[in-house]
């Protein structure tokens, strides 16, 4: 199979640039079948998804929020890792759009009897499914699956690689507060080496023109990166600043994003103790005071309150954590609709005929 990490990291730049140059309504985007990562999405595609999510948010907030848009479509969520919000969010998104959503969890499926990923996918494929939402502990699993199914594959988090819908909802949440993302200062604090949310969000916010600074222990960045430096283009994260300490990262930031620190990291020797992590990298009210007055505090959840984020700020006035969850449904509706709507094979950029 193709190596997932090399599939999409190159070639995205030129596409992004042409998309930016072309007037938006003329950007003839090819129909997209899968959403596996954000690095091969153009700025125009991301903007379209975020714009659609605005309309979806209104529908998701109604008393009667059932629509027939994906009536007759079947969406399967296949989670090989535990998750509450992402799985429920996708399920709710699919159901509001009128699709039938079936949840498969690894522990309750034939996977626990030893069925291979390939055979599981082929079995589901034989049941005529339209979309497969996959979370898997191995980076690249959704890419592998996309090569073996006609259904649209949505990556709901794969290993340490990517979590594209989380990044889209983070972009959406920030955009709804600050408007234009370009030039905004984003501080991401946490496990950069292993976090798929960090990787996807660095890509996403940089793509939209924001300035991203990360702060984390020296043991949780790739070996060849140096704290206190700014990465060059050759790394694929050109312009990413690696702060020496968390105060430097948070200083005059527009957005402060704390990432969950996983217990396993400490067990693997990356961290001396969670208490030390909390003291040196935890986001609390003193650190939030260094950011802009109206800075947003974000966390992708689930939160370890008292470790990477203090309870005080997690539920404080600047926190948009619950908004992130609410927006997640709207963003996933936009993603599922864009990938599965009946007309995606003949995408017409012709608004007048659309009004006929």
């Amino acid at each position: 199979m193709t190596n997932p990490t090399t599939v999409a990291t190159t070639g995205a730049k030129s596409e992004e640039e042409t998309a930016q140059l072309a007037p938006k309504e003329n950007a003839a985007l090819p129909p997209r079948q899968h959403l596996l990562d954000l690095d091969d999405l153009s700025v125009a595609e991301i903007t379209d998804l975020l714009d659609s999510a605005e309309g979806m948010l209104e529908i998701a907030g109604r008393d009667n929020r059932k629509t027939p848009a994906l009536r007759g479509k079947t969406i399967i969520t296949m989670f090989f890792e535990n998750s509450t919000r992402t799985r429920v969010s996708f399920e709710q998104a699919g159901k509001i759009l009128g699709a039938d959503v079936i949840n498969v969890t690894a522990s309750a499926s034939s996977v626990s009897k030893g069925e291979s990923l390939l055979n599981t996918v082929k079995t589901l494929q034989a049941m005529q499914i339209d979309a497969l939402v996959v979370r898997h502990p191995h980076s690249g699993a959704p890419y592998f699956i996309s090569n073996h199914t006609d259904a649209s594959v949505v990556n709901a988090g794969d290993g340490t690689h990517a979590h594209p819908t989380q990044s889209l909802l983070d972009l959406f949440t920030v955009r709804s507060h600050v408007g234009e993302l370009a030039g905004k200062k984003i501080a991401i604090v946490g496990d950069v080496l292993y976090s798929r949310v960090a990787r996807s969000n660095i890509i996403a916010f940089q793509k939209m023109g924001a300035e991203v600074t990360v702060s984390c222990p020296n043991t949780l960045i790739p070996d060849e990166w140096q704290l206190g430096s700014t990465l060059g283009e050759e790394t694929g994260f050109g312009g990413l600043k690696l702060a020496r300490n968390v105060d430097e990262a948070v200083d005059s930031a527009d957005v402060v994003m704390a990432l969950r620190i996983q217990q396993e990291r400490q067990e693997a020797g990356h961290l001396p103790s969670l208490r030390e992590y909390s003291e040196r990298w935890g986001i609390n009210s003193q650190r939030m005071a260094l950011a802009n007055d109206d800075a947003l505090l974000m966390h992708p959840g689930p939160m370890n309150e008292g470790v990477e984020i203090s309870s005080e700020v997690a539920h404080g006035a600047q926190s948009v954590v619950e908004e992130q969850v609410r927006n997640g449904v709207a963003v996933r509706m936009a993603v599922l609709y864009t990938l599965c709507a009946p007309g995606k094979s003949s995408r017409l950029a012709d608004s007048d005929e659309a009004q006929s």
Binding site: E25, N26, D48, L49, D51, S52, E54, G55, M56, E58, I59, R62, N64, T67, P68, A69, L97, A334, Y337, T338, A341, P342, G343, K344, S345, S346, R347, L348, A349, D350, S351, D352, E353, A354, Q355, S356
Partner: protein
Amino acid sequence: MTNEIGRVLLTQDDIRRAMTRISHEILEQNRASTDLVLVGLQTRGVHLARRLAEIIERIEGFAPVVGTLDPRLWRDDPDVASAQPLLPSDIPTSVDGKPVVLVDDVLYTGRTIRAAMEALLDFGRASRIQLAVLVDRGHRELPIRPDFIGKNIPTARGERVQVRMTEIDGDDAVVLGRES
């Protein structure tokens, strides 16, 4: 959108006069009900609805509530369903028991209107749903008939009716072009 400028069917003045006449007709048909709700279909229908509301306010002294609707998710035709980002639907009042006028720029197959009626039902039970369009170009595929028409323009299917509006395009005109 690459076709050359075609034949102008309605000028700015023609559009203004048609909108004024439709405003009078809406008031007449609805006995100047102050409950009247105008719902514009995204995107040009929204601007037409706002213009109708302004004219009605000038004539009758009250401005009807204007809402917006993007019926995309209720469409049945695959070709156009997902082409553009979904736009917000917002009707800032309950439509229960009130007369609603759907407003769109061009009436063609009728499929948008069918979708719009279904989408509107989720907002409540209107006492009556009527339809106002700037241009009726024929070729209906569903049993749908407009109540208020700016102009009937018989067209061939290969032709394209383009409504230009100041709010979006910088000027007002209805132009007949060829399908690009």
